[in-house]
Symmetry: C3
Subunit: 300 residues, 3 copies
């Protein structure tokens, strides 16, 4: 079961099959219950871009596993400041560490590193492309909160064009029998080729004209970033804010997720509702990343 | 004895009673003698402001305890750079760590975090407000150097208005039978409401017109920061520098303390005198913080 | 044998004798084979200047030894930002750690720290002066790749004036029976007093007019930094780039080394040749630094 991941890169959810994802979720559940096995490995966290949750939860995962962390969270502190190439950095660090976790502002950086590296590369977010470990913790959160993934109605809201967590999530979800609804500003719609690919994989995809929470089991909200808009008026029209009143229009057991950081997509008053799942979602980053590191680096 | 601190926040010295402080000092002494017990916990160090001593001594304390450290010393490397709110950061990190140590430029940040967090918050300095772990190591230093706290004459020199170490120290000291003397530039005097509170607690407080070391058992010097003055001439008038000649006017066994960093309040030539206690004071940060973490997070 | 290093500073290769270097290389080989002994110490890494390899390999070494790392890789995150003096930083950190590893932009910083500190100081690069742990891993790389150091012809190319790795390397090599050739832009030649000193130590030193790889067993290339030149035309004339075609002019078993980061002194196509030794050289940083830390801090 874990053979699929052993010593493999983890750079995208696009080619993950259901069996592999199920194995990750099952293993995550073990770690979540405190079922730890020590991992005597050195893991490099190379963060070429700021991060709180992803960096801290990987860092926590590494330490709880009893593994060693090396790396940087601030590229200015590294030789990149002297103009060192990304590929030279990888070729050096692969000699220090048993696996490399990379966050990078450029799309494709993790795949490029995976081509170069003899040790497994784990993508912790590459530009607007993918964030596959986030997708695993998102699925784990859905499974834990809803008891299943199959049969759910899932609404994605916000920036579906540049949101890497969205891109990783939809391909991971396409392995399950779900109904996907999409709502975004027109200029931030999920790329058409992705919609086509999802449909060709058999996933039902609805494009919504209006933001409507009714009937949805899972609502997944993401940030709409000002920087994405040339026209500030369009940005103002595109913003959305989920408030406590919206809870009334949701199914009683609907959950609201968000990869965080949020700016003001979700009013903080909403945090106290039973729907709010985003902090538990962040917390799930630790057991899921422990599971991934163990499946990739662990014995047999 | 340790029940007072178990699973509690540590954000201010204002409400600490003598029994609790004595318990901390006693426990610090054990750790100082190398009497370690392993603490299998994850501790987050969130430093939203630069620090050497406090960060490094907490980091050393965590590692000597065998606990795990996560966090950041450079807020630019975290999602705060993306505009994440402080409260969201706390709500995420409380899910990763068993306790959170916070250094923040804003007064009240630690208390605010303590209100939000389900895990203990330890204040490592919040603006001009409090720095309670520094006060504990200051008291430990006095006790270790002088053998007692009761009965001592203690002089505080420098910026008593904005100095958070001063504010934490005076309230901690008010639990002991000491005589406090204060000397500062007029614009940087200890706030009157604090003087009143100290006196109402029974502490004898003298306001000095001139800097006079004679008769003092402990002299505690702090930085006078240029940025505090609108008028540069007043700043120049307000600066003081303790030189090796001043040692002649001190009691033979007087100690000179300083929370560091110093700029030029104490001439480096003074370092070689028997009075200089500031480096040992910094060193005491390790056992005292080990003791605090253990009392807050340890068993029973 | 290891008594020479026990509790000693390691700031320069200038006074290292052959016996000591041989002991370091022998110990490095043990660690390279996975022959670890746990080192229950706290080691401070104080990096006042950006670094990837040196910082990460020290960090990896510390963790593999089971020791504790404290410190910073970003001086802006420390009290230096508040104007603290370097000597006060050292006097505080020596009380937290069992040894201090320092990287600093100023020449002499490590020696200055060694004068102040009661715990061993390890120089991880001080301005254009020395980088002695790099020299040890360079010698270890030569020994591992060539089976010996005595009898080799070694060519140094690039900035020999400001290159601290070069300065440390030549004095370390002067303990062996080697023939040294030097090729650099005229303005970046090895300082004459160093050439004289090497010759007085009995090392044969050739100054080359043209870059000629033939007959050399080891070619050691370094960066030529644009910032060193007032005259951009001279910089352009001084640049060199070793390409895959140059491999034809090298001895069949010649190795090409580089302390990295490289900018464009070595074409990446060269990486695939059997001569390319620079990534393995970087990898050797881990066992060599483990050996050094153990010899300095280990028992007896």
């Amino acid at each position: 079961m874990s053979l699929n991941l052993h010593n493999k890169d983890f750079v995208s959810t696009r080619n993950l099959d259901r069996k592999t994802i199920d194995a990750i979720l099952k293993e995550s559940s073990k770690f979540d219950k405190g079922n730890y096995k020590k991992l005597n490995k050195t893991i490099a966290l190379l963060f070429f871009e700021p991060s709180t949750r992803t960096h801290l939860s990987f860092s926590t995962a590494v330490r709880k596993l009893g593994a060693s962390e090396i790396g940087f969270s601030n590229p200015k502190a590294s030789s990149l400041a002297k103009g060192e190439s990304f590929s030279d950095t990888i070729k050096v660090v692969e000699r220090y560490a048993d696996a490399i976790v990379i966050r990078h502002p450029l799309q494709g950086a993790a795949a490029f590193a995976a081509d170069l590296s003899s040790v497994p590369i784990i993508n912790a977010g590459d530009g607007a492309n993918q964030h596959p470990t986030q997708a695993m913790l998102d699925l784990y959160t859905i499974l834990k909160k809803k008891g299943k993934i199959d049969g759910l109605k899932i609404l994605l809201v916000g920036d579906l064009k540049y949101g890497r967590t969205i891109h990783s999530l939809v391909f991971a979800l396409s392995n399950y029998n779900i109904e996907l609804s999409l709502y975004s500003p027109p200029s931030l719609a999920l790329p058409e080729r992705m919609v086509d690919e999802l449909r060709s994989r058999g996933t039902k995809v609805n494009i919504l004209e209006n933001l409507d929470f009714s009937g949805q089991d899972v609502i997944y909200a993401t940030r709409v970033q000002k920087e994405r808009f040339a026209d500030l008026e369009e940005y103002e029209r595109s913003r959305y804010k989920i408030s406590i009143k919206d809870a009334d229009t949701m199914k009683r057991d609907a959950i609201l997720m968000h990869p965080l950081p949020r700016i003001d997509e979700i009013d903080t008053a909403f945090d106290k509702t039973k729907h709010a799942a985003y902090f538990d979602e962040a917390a799930n980053g630790v057991p899921v990343r422990m599971a991934l590191l163990s499946l990739i680096l662990g014995g047999k």
